[in-house]
């Protein structure tokens, strides 16, 4: 195998491994919100450093490939896309970590089931998990159409986030003593919304890499 191809293959494996780790970070932190599982949150928190290590490794692999092999065409698009996917994945993991830290810092907070149902946070968690998995599928199989749904899912996640403020405000009015846990929930929802945005950025990079299409700042409907 050519040297460049070896480097690209190893980069691909590292990104896929990082992606799987980030998926588990997001799904565990989501589950921790819903089940108030502090141990699970602790696990997410512990693994954050592993994500950071992947980010550094992938950054340096990209830098070396560009410096030493001057990739062109699809190889160049791959390296550029991976470079950006890498930082998006790292940001996503940061949000998962943020959620886990919040849960650990406030072990006594327990969310009301009614609030969870009304804000649709469960749907939000399952949507961002789906978006991450679809992105990985598209990347692994080099099929950009696998990532096409991510844009509309992000729209749905944004909607849930937009509606949450009103729902939570109403709840606080009725239950002023639970304002603190409500603020915690809103913070978590904001983080999930940001995760959705990063998934959408990743989908754009997948289209750039596979189809050479620039979707950034374009309407995707």
């Amino acid at each position: 195998m050519r040297q460049l191809e070896q480097e690209l293959t190893s980069l691909r494996h590292d990104v896929i491994d990082m992606w799987k780790l980030v998926i588990s970070q997001v799904s565990n932190s989501g589950e921790a919100i819903l089940s108030f599982d502090k141990e699970l949150a602790q696990k997410v928190s512990m693994r954050e450093r592993k994500v950071d290590a992947y980010e550094l490794k992938i950054d340096s692999e990209c830098e070396n490939i560009i410096a030493l092999h001057q990739p062109v065409a699809i190889d160049l698009r791959f390296v550029l896309a991976v470079f950006k996917i890498n930082s998006n994945l790292e940001r996503i993991a940061d949000f998962a970590y943020g959620i886990s830290r919040m849960l650990i810092a406030n072990p006594s907070v327990i969310l009301d089931a009614e609030l969870i149902t009304n804000t649709n946070v469960r749907v939000m968690i399952s949507e961002v998990n789906k978006m991450l998995t679809q992105g990985l599928d598209a990347f692994e199989n080099e099929k950009s159409n696998f990532a096409a749904a991510i844009f509309s899912e992000d729209y749905q996640v944004d909607e849930i986030n937009n509606n949450a403020a009103r729902i939570v405000a109403d709840y606080i009015q009725k239950n002023p003593d639970r304002a603190f846990e409500c603020l915690q929930l809103i913070a978590a929802i904001r983080k999930l919304e940001r995760i959705g945005d990063h998934c959408s950025n990743i989908a754009e990079e997948i289209f750039f890499y596979i189809d050479a299409k620039v979707l950034k700042h374009a309407s995707k409907k």
Binding site: R2, V72, A73, R77
Partner: protein, 255 residues
Amino acid sequence: MNTDPSILSIENLSIAYDKDKLAVKNVSATIKKNAITAIMGPSGCGKTTLLRAINRMHELYPNISTEGKIKLYDENIYDMSTIKLRRKVGMVFQRPNPFPTLSIYENVIAGYKLNGINLKRSERDEIVETSLKNVALWEEVKNSLHKKGNFLSGGQQQRLCIARTLAFKPDVILLDEPTSALDPIATAKIEDLLVDLKQNYTIVLVTHNMTQAARISDNSMYMYLGELIEYDETTQIFTNPKHTSTQNYITGRFG
């Protein structure tokens, strides 16, 4: 493709060295004026034959047959005399080849001498100085103009050969892997020179060095087995080529 005016128009060109073996197969393309056009492709793809056909050097091979046209502006080069054509379309080769018995000065105006064109001393001086200045060699050699050309370094010799081509004030300069025998510093100088020269000349370059094509050319052709597979702006070829075969070649997955 950009819409700059074209200078050369290759129309259904086919060239065969043997009766049944086509080296160039029905190639059509227009070459933009004041631009650098690179021709790439694996060995034996016909790129050098195509380049040589532009000033009819390929006719030096016995039994060669050529079909189709190449127009320089509106004139078919196959209806022109080769002497007239080669004044308008100069050629620089892979290895620097200054005439070893001639001085630097004589090398630059060798074309006039070989063609029996008599110039006044002042005209000759003028041509030598301008041509050497155009290739950024004047300052380096102005005090040794009457020394033999082969004491120069490889890169200087190649610039001398380009000066010799420029002396005839051609419209088009053809270069066949002009830097493959040079070190990276001399290569960089020639590349900078070519980019400067395109202000006044049209340059067609055959190169095996893909990063060179990427660095300096405006448009690139990719040839394979005598066919012109893809011809587009260089940026397009190196970021998103249309043909798998081009992609395989430029990414090194060829064969």
